[in-house]
Amino acid sequence: MLELKNISKKFESPALKDLNASFEKGRIHLLQGRNASGKTTLLKIIAGCLSPDSGEISLGGKALPSRNYPFNSFSLAFVEGRFYEQISAAENIKFRLRLRGLSLKKEELLAGAERLGLGEKELAEIPAGLSLGTRQKVSMLGALLSKSEILLLDEAFAVLDLPARERLAKTLREEAASGRTVIFSSQTARGLETFSDRFHILKDGALLSPETPSYD
């Protein structure tokens, strides 16, 4: 179980206000909210990219230290992907995994790619030559192959077409069944309610009542 207690973060204006949330292991959690509601800020805080101004994060009952944060427990994928644009998509993924001490066989890469509808051709391409949807798939693939306990996917379905959405939904369901925790953000719950186990609705940096999908 991943728990957030009294998390606050302020930039020019408050981004997160005294937020409490818990994310059960092996479940798919939808973090829903409009633009600037604090979704990405929250995902970055969980991933350790941002330090909260106050509050505590705990994993499996243990409070996570700000020093020696267990970064490898988390994998964060952004909608547009964060890539080295000069090297191939496959090399980007391999590099990311090498930093985590993981080596990746070609067959593993291709098998993972196939789950998301990616082929060898797309993986050999430099990211700059890929469509936004394909970049997003590559970004998700990197996170999936990272073997981290918790997957954090920012706007996971934002730019995917219907078959790709279905494929990703199926893949995330399989990952959750294998024990991974999936937390993904979206502006709307429409079309995502059938495969999400839990709903967390963010509005102006605060968490509204859980469990209720919102179609705003």
Binding site: F11, F71, R82, Q86, I87
Partner: protein, 268 residues
């Protein structure tokens, strides 16, 4: 932590490979500068000769080695902040800086990579100097030279890490790199021997690591000086490194922590 260094080196090599033309241009640019000094030497060499009696070389030989050393300064001083800015622009810096276990190997790999790249360029310049410009390298003391380069890169890189903190905190603008680059060009003995300068300026020179690096390199190159014979220069470089390297890593960590709190790690 160490196993991550090869991952960075491999990635940097692949990225660099995509910019082959820029690499070639860089080499030609330095070769042209050296050619300019070659002809300056023909014109004014005799004027500078009295200042180079100790080394028993001409002006061009002096500036040749100083320029090669200055390339290492550039590799250490500007490259780390340049790298961090590139990572920020690409959106990949957050992924590196948010992990205490990744940031040190990232910095070390930038240092190693630039050292290797500059050394490759240096070999090409040395070949050009030997075969086409008539330079004599028969008196080189390789051990002294290796020690000089190692300590130089360590101290230049430390200053480079300190200056990269400006990029982390203020995103653009690197006053330290600008200041040091200008000062080293004027006071460091790169384009002319420091003995040409007035006494007060010679004092300023002695505050810069590049002064000791160039002195040690000249003596290693042309006088076959052993490490014992250039111990003062090596000790000065070691002192700069011993003070600056830990300080620079501490400052880098503080800058990243501050940037993570402000949420500016990914901004540029």
């Amino acid at each position: 932590m160490i196993r991550r260094i090869p991952a960075f080196l491999r990635k940097d090599f692949l990225v660099e490979k995509s910019y082959r033309f820029a690499f070639l241009l860089g080499i030609f640019s330095t070769l042209f500068s050296l050619l300019i000094f070659f002809f300056i030497d023909r014109l004014f060499g005799r004027e500078v000769a009295p200042y180079l009696e100790e080394l028993k070389i001409n002006y061009f030989s002096y500036v040749f080695v100083a320029t090669l050393l200055f390339n290492y300064t550039g590799a250490g001083l500007g490259s780390i902040s340049e790298k961090i800015r590139t990572e920020k622009v690409q959106g990949t810096f957050e992924g590196i800086a948010n992990n205490e276990g990744i940031l040190p190997p990232f910095v070390v790999s930038v240092i190693i990579y630039n050292f290797a790249l500059t050394s490759l360029e240096t070999v090409l310049y040395l070949a050009a100097g030997f075969f086409f410009l008539g330079l004599d390298f028969s008196n080189v003391n390789l051990l002294s030279l290796a020690l000089t380069l190692f300590l130089s890169v360590l101290s230049f890189s430390s200053i480079g890490i300190v200056s990269s903190c400006f990029i982390i905190l203020f995103r653009k603008g690197n006053p330290l790199a600008f200041l040091l680059n200008s000062m080293e060009g004027l006071f460091g003995g790169v384009y002319f021997p420091v003995a040409v300068l007035p006494l007060w300026a010679q004092f300023v020179s002695k505050l810069l690591p590049v002064y000791y690096a160039i002195n040690a390199a000249q003596k290693s190159f042309y006088l076959n000086a052993s490490p014992a014979q250039i111990w003062k220069e090596l000790a000065a470089l070691a002192l700069f490194s011993a003070v600056l390297f830990p300080f620079s890593l501490w400052l880098l960590k503080k800058s990243v922590d501050r940037s993570r709190l402000k949420g500016t790690l990914g901004r540029y």
